[in-house]
């Protein structure tokens, strides 16, 4: 069994965990930006709490990635000392913060995806990953409920809230398909029983989201002419560099600083 290089078992196992952990980490960072910016204080707290859940998931996943990799990197090394090209998150989570409707559209899609993902990972051959999934799925159920209720309220609300909720859905649509792309690492992880094949999550996740949209009197956006790709291979957008700069600045300026 190969343990080095980009195609070895260890490297692919590590990369799979990094993809999951980076999605959670980067979205946690984005959600943290809502503190003091949400339409009401309850939403400051809700989005902060959801971000905190995701940060907790990211910590467990990155810690596990470091263990599997076996090069002595811990969660902080992986979060703060990797460069942009080494991050494996999808584009959806790195998009800059839009208005509240856009955020609810993103949260609805991401939590619906994560819900199916973690359900599949309950049976992962990586026991630590299965344990994280068992914990996380309960949290994500609350995230999805939260997004659902806002999408319903805004979609089936006033003319203005309906218009902006619909605009939010249109804005995130080009970044949805990437969640369900079968990148080589995920294909390998699914074949070995460590992970799940992203394309198998498309139907249940989309089914859930579309049912919510229908009830909210919203329209499923048309297939966009352009869609994002490549996050899992480390290809990111301009927004990612700024996000990392903010997230990593303190740790890089003061290596090893503690409270």
């Amino acid at each position: 069994m190969s343990t080095t290089g980009t195609t070895g078992t260890t490297a692919r196992h590590t990369a799979y965990l990094l993809g999951l952990g980076d999605d959670a980490l980067v979205y946690a960072q984005r959600l943290g930006e809502w503190l003091t910016r949400a339409p009401q204080i309850e939403e400051d707290m809700a989005l902060g709490n959801i971000g905190l859940d995701l940060l907790g998931q990211a910590r467990a996943l990155l810690t596990r990635a470091g263990e599997v990799e076996g090069r002595g990197r811990d969660e902080d090394d992986l979060a703060y000392l990797r460069d942009e090209r080494d991050f494996r998150n999808v584009h959806l989570v790195e998009r800059p913060r839009g208005d509240f409707g856009q955020e609810m559209a993103r949260l609805l899609w991401f939590s619906s995806y994560q819900h199916e993902l973690y359900a599949g990972l309950l049976g992962s051959g990586d026991e630590v990953l299965a344990g994280v999934a068992g914990k996380a799925i309960k949290e994500v159920t609350y995230h999805r409920d939260h997004a659902t209720q806002w999408v319903l309220r805004l979609g089936d609300g006033t003319e203005e809230s309906h218009r902006r909720m619909q605009a939010g859905l249109e804005a995130v649509q080009p970044y949805v398909a990437e969640l369900f792309d079968d990148d080589p690492v995920s294909v390998w992880a699914a074949e070995t029983g460590l992970g799940v094949l992203p394309s198998t999550l498309r139907e249940p996740a989309t089914g859930y989201v579309h049912a919510v949209l229908e009830q909210a009197t919203l329209t499923v956006p048309e297939e966009p002419r352009w869609r994002s790709r490549g996050g899992r291979e480390g290809i990111h957008s301009e927004a990612m560099g700024y996000l990392l700069a903010e997230m990593q600045h303190l740790h890089r300026s003061h290596p090893g600083a503690t409270w």
Binding site: A46, A130, G134, T141, D145, H146, T148, Q149, Q215
Partner: protein, 166 residues
């Protein structure tokens, strides 16, 4: 500090009796997060805990408190985190629930259904910890900590927190 005692019961009782830093009326044992307390050799106590929420910052404070309590009993502490099976509010003791109620926090009501949840605001019946009325409504699903929601009683008009069933 001198070692006062090293019997299992004393160290274990002290560890299990540590109060939750966010809700200081409930012990971590009543909260249901202590999986195991094990004495190893003469100078170590290994405490296995299952965190409530993945990102709950109280977990760090609890681990620190465990180390402090162990030190008072002349031992080092090793805090092991066990994720599986995941923590559920079903593990909270009756004493714990009662302590929450007295503190003004509605204890978790049942476990949430595993399947899809109906899409409407607050369908669960939650009893007001102040006046006992069931006529309460949800104000915010996410309260001051990850584990709590914010509600209000329509009978006595008091707001209160609810420990979310998970």
């Amino acid at each position: 500090m001198t070692a006062m005692t090293t019997t299992t019961t004393d160290v274990e009782r002290a560890v299990r009796g540590i109060l939750d830093p966010e809700i200081p009326v409930i012990t971590i044992d009543d909260l249901g997060i202590v999986r195991d307390v094990e004495l190893v050799g003469d100078d170590l106590v290994r405490v296995t805990i299952t965190p409530t929420y993945s990102g709950c910052p109280a977990m760090e404070a609890i681990a620190q408190q465990i180390r402090l309590v162990a030190e008072r009993h002349g031992r080092r502490a090793e805090v092991v985190t066990r994720l599986s099976p995941p923590w559920t509010t079903d593990w909270m003791s009756e004493e714990g629930r009662e302590a929450l109620r007295r503190f003004g926090i509605a204890p978790p009501t049942g476990t949430r259904p595993a399947g899809p949840v109906t899409v409407s605001l607050s369908v669960r019946r939650v009893t007001c910890p102040h006046c006992g009325s069931e006529d309460t409504e949800e104000l915010a699903r996410f309260g001051s900590t990850a584990c709590k929601a914010l509600r209000r009683c329509r009978a006595c008009r008091e707001p209160f927190e609810e420990f979310k069933a998970i």
